[in-house]
Symmetry: D2
Subunit: 364 residues, 4 copies
């Protein structure tokens, strides 16, 4: 279990980093939605390794094949199966991992859970699994846009201690793609890039934070108790490899505030009868339900665990030893993780959009 | 939907803040577990309003009745239904809310979603719903303890800008209950208490952070992709009213670190063949699966939205107006939220324990 | 697990035959639906024991209390909790069951599964659990009627070898309630009644078949693969205690037919562009999806296992013994099971109605 | 939705009859189970068209590729993705179906539900979808056999009015495969074959019934209320294309019986403390839970809807017309459906085996 997410718009992924390939089955897609394969490929290309010095050098074309669910360019309402083949897998780089557990990786926990493990790579825990998420998320984005004009943009907010200053109201995909770190604050982008090059040269890695906004989300998505919109977003984001923190709206910053500073006043909207908030500290969600303002969230990533230095660890038999990783890895995961964060946002919103109209109907 | 959580150990809650009462149905409880009703009541008492000046003055006895699922003190494996009646509801305090939306509350989003609303209180969005969670969580705690000796302790880590210093390895329930703010750092507890009294006097409220640890969790719980143990914890925690952020292990602090600082080295454990980590920056979870070390998490809460000052808002018809809340509310939610955070931790761990032995069997 | 059914309109039941009571939590009810409590009570009264000589003499008022989810007579969209207290439980009749397994009852399998059992009655396996289904089903009926005018009628089709002749197009609730066996074919009803009296006098029991129709179901409900509308109906019906068979449309009779006899020709409907079928051998479902014609199904029930004669069995320790049941039981379950069959039909249709508009929108 | 089945052992299928291929993703497979690909292929070959005059002449090699989830011949516990490519699709045979609805097929209901349809074949409603079920079921069979020695055998019980006489205790795969109709009663098999040839020559089709037994199922599988073992079997079986009826144990025959005839007496088993039943009219399930005796069920199939004669129907615009199907179709579906019925039995048992040990642990 654990390879599926969503209740009505449901994505199931499969595949290991070293095996036949990675794929996703998207169930519950509304019928009649025009699905542009180029848009899927575009997001896959943003996530793809080998884009430059800031990311892993594994060379994967990551071309997606659609096996089912589309007909004459439109969704049929049946499961859409997506497949990306593996090509440049290099199991030799992992020989050492057969009997040694890489620190802070999932090698040990996988062995502890299943008693068996494909040691030729990270298996299901590999970040390569996210190729399937990005493909599925690209479909969710198209559904959201065609059904209600939702637009999702993610960006790099922080790398190590370098924090950018972004206007989430205005930030666009073009701004994000303007540089290799995907940080729309040009000055900070340069500092981030320099930092990543520095840690890379040292064989080290560094963490970071991604911000994301969804604009045009109608009010009413999300459920009041366990399936709050931000609860489902939190789960979706923490399911991304290396994610360690989630904030809805102001996130942890709200803990330091007083109610009189944090509350968003309601004010009349543009058209008569419309309602909006003056500020958006709540990040577009109140009581777990969208209020029509932009949905804002942030996701913290730990530094990649594969550091190219000797580290203490143990063997499968419990004996102490050391390990010196080889292979191709990202010195900082956040630039490539931007489309993954967007994909998870899209899946959650799409699922809640369908759930909402299931229970409450199309009242707009 | 949205009122259920968990796949095998599944909790469904029902009830509004002003109505017949609150309850939970716990499905999938392992049979033959001794369930102590006093333990349930103890946790309900920790969550109960009216405990002192730091929390809401609503006077509810919150006595729990068990309607099914137990026989001669043991779980039958059938659904355990728990019911807590409402007594001290005061709808008159809410008369103003019939047509006005309280800022940063769920009044507007509930109306936007459902087109109908029980305006005599917060309905399902009321923090009173959490009484059912605490009762169900107290059952999960007993299952976890009896099946594998797991112990869960939560505490107040931060109130506004005041941050405590807690040793998560050692902290005990007695330490937490030693003062009214539930902060085991006595010095900081006093500062927190003073701060809460100050904002209360000003008719204002303040946010905070709760830390939580689960000790004795066996390795192997959690699934590698979407249902990572920390992903499900993130969802569970963000589903608590007023929660705005979640951290697994070091949380957002890990974003600023380098891999060489963050990695936890594996070292031989106490018994031959045992494996543990030297440090626990990962918070007991790697690749979404528990590694046998203590599970550590933190949850950020925004300041309560009910501030006793005049605020701008709009009426149902979209006209601008102002609102001046009345009623009984907590100046700071975190002291009472400690047992709620523990309850959510317990439910998630219990569900994953059953899921793990379902797929992988009882190998220990 | 196993106490919940439905994905969007989801019913969870709880309670044992001898305990605090029986109840249901209905999640996902569309908001704003007028819920008439008298209609719920009416169906409970149809299912109630003590209605005459044909059924069990247990005297339960079976008055339903609604604990949540309604406000000013309308559904809020939040969980609707329903509770029926137990009053006339008589555990003394079950003393013999503590150590002996009643033949063809669930005593042994419950013990084998859970290792613990409430021997003071049938526990969750008791037909008394269905009181919660009938209450929840009565809500589903009201949702279906108000959202799309669906009307559901069940009837006794067969008792032992006596088979009635019913026009499923025309049969009404009044026809069904015209006699105590709930068989709208008056002549056959008399024969059924005589048969039931005869087996009752002999301390024996007899099986039967219930037919059910849902009229006014829009085309498009159901999913093409595993969640076919008739697959979900089959599950719902086989979940009723003592149910052993299910037929969709002509059911097993279709196995003997040739395609040229079984196919339903499409013909133009009443309004231009409308489509219907000339005959309805498919029972309103083709490829698992409703076609707009009446949904027709049948459910076979075995004879009640409690026969008042000495029977061979074994004790918990495996030793051979005999048992002579006491207590109050139905000589034939089908008259009281009619509202249960209707309730299951209503829950399944209601769930699929919401699921359909979730994925495909409100196109009507 | 609707393309997934199972809660812990969960199978999701994808693909249309005319498209890139058919596939299944099997989630939740226990780790470390030896998966023999030849066994999967063997069942696919039993289901494959083109095996003789009794079945469809479509020539598909139906070779299965495993894309993920296995390593060195064993299951990893991760999703097992299975893919069977389409080769001999002949959309030209379906040109007439673009605008005309075939009687008793899913063309109209698919259009009514989704508003869009891949008219080049039956889409998801095609029996070709079952290739994915058979592949997934072959994995479930191996899990069941390795974890608890369960053996599953299906056979043709009835074709049209010809009913076989089978000893479900003894029947073996070899008996079933001894002739082309898969009926182990040799005399009746010849009559069935003659009947199928006759209806085929007439351009007609005929229905039938399949029986199935699972031997070696431990007591305790199944849940007492909605997820009764036979309720889940009923759903699984009714989800097979053309299935119209399901019987558990004696099925509809039990409706005509009296309790004294139907009850199965408990008797001491082979080893001290063991319990079994003297007869097995209950079909191995009491109160929805397995009792350790063989699980017995039957599934009724309607005659295939594609009859090669002119039939009345309507066009998409509602105008009356006629249709004369072409293409390659089975005159009788039951011989090829035997491995499908076995596959569905295997999936349901495997899921309940994992669910049982999840809640109740491995007590055997």
């Amino acid at each position: 279990m654990g390879s599926s997410i969503g209740r009505l718009f449901r994505v199931t992924t499969f595949g290991e980093s070293h095996g036949g390939g990675l794929g996703a089955v998207v169930e519950g897609c509304p019928p009649g939605v025009t699905i542009d394969l180029n848009s899927i490929q575009l997001d896959l290309d943003r996530r793809r390794p080998g884009q430059g010095e800031l990311v892993s050098q594994r060379a994967e074309a990551d071309k997606v094949a659609v096996l089912s669910g589309l007909f004459e360019g439109k969704s049929l309402g049946s499961p859409i199966a997506l497949l990306v083949r593996n090509h440049d897998a290099d199991p030799s780089a992992y020989a050492d991992m057969r009997d040694k557990f890489r620190p802070s990786h999932a090698d040990y926990t996988t062995e502890a859970k299943y008693g068996v493990r494909n040691w030729q790579g990270g298996g299901r825990a590999s970040a390569r699994e996210t190729v399937a998420r990005v493909a599925a998320g690209a479909i969710a984005k198209q559904v959201l846009f065609q059904l209600c004009g939702v637009e999702i943009v993610g960006w790099v907010e922080q790398v190590g201690p370098v924090i950018a200053d972004i206007d989430s109201q205005q930030v666009s995909l073009a701004d994000v793609e303007a540089n290799a770190v995907r940080c729309p604050d040009g000055l900070k982008a340069k500092q981030m890039e320099a930092l990543i090059q520095r840690v890379r040269a040292a064989g080290d890695t560094v963490g970071g934070v991604i911000g994301v906004v969804a604009r045009g989300v109608p009010p009413g998505l999300g459920d009041p108790v366990f399936d709050k919109l931000d609860a489902d977003l939190a789960k979706a984001m923490l399911s991304i490899p290396a994610a360690k923190g989630f904030g809805s709206g102001l996130g942890f910053a709200s803990a330091t505030m007083q109610g009189s500073e944090h509350n968003d006043a309601f004010v009349p909207g543009a058209s008569p009868g419309d309602i909006q908030t003056d500020t958006n500290r709540s990040g577009g969600i109140q009581g777990g339900i969208s209020n029509g303002m932009p949905i804002l969230a942030s996701v913290a990533f730990k530094p990649v665990s594969t550091v190219f230095m000797e580290q203490r660890t143990v063997q499968s038999d419990g004996e102490a030893t050391t390990i010196q990783p080889r292979g191709r890895h990202d010195p900082c995961v956040v630039p490539r993780a931007v489309p993954i964060v967007e994909a998870m946002m899209a899946m959650v919103l799409c699922d809640h959009l369908l759930r909402h109209r299931g229970q409450c109907g199309d009242r707009r």
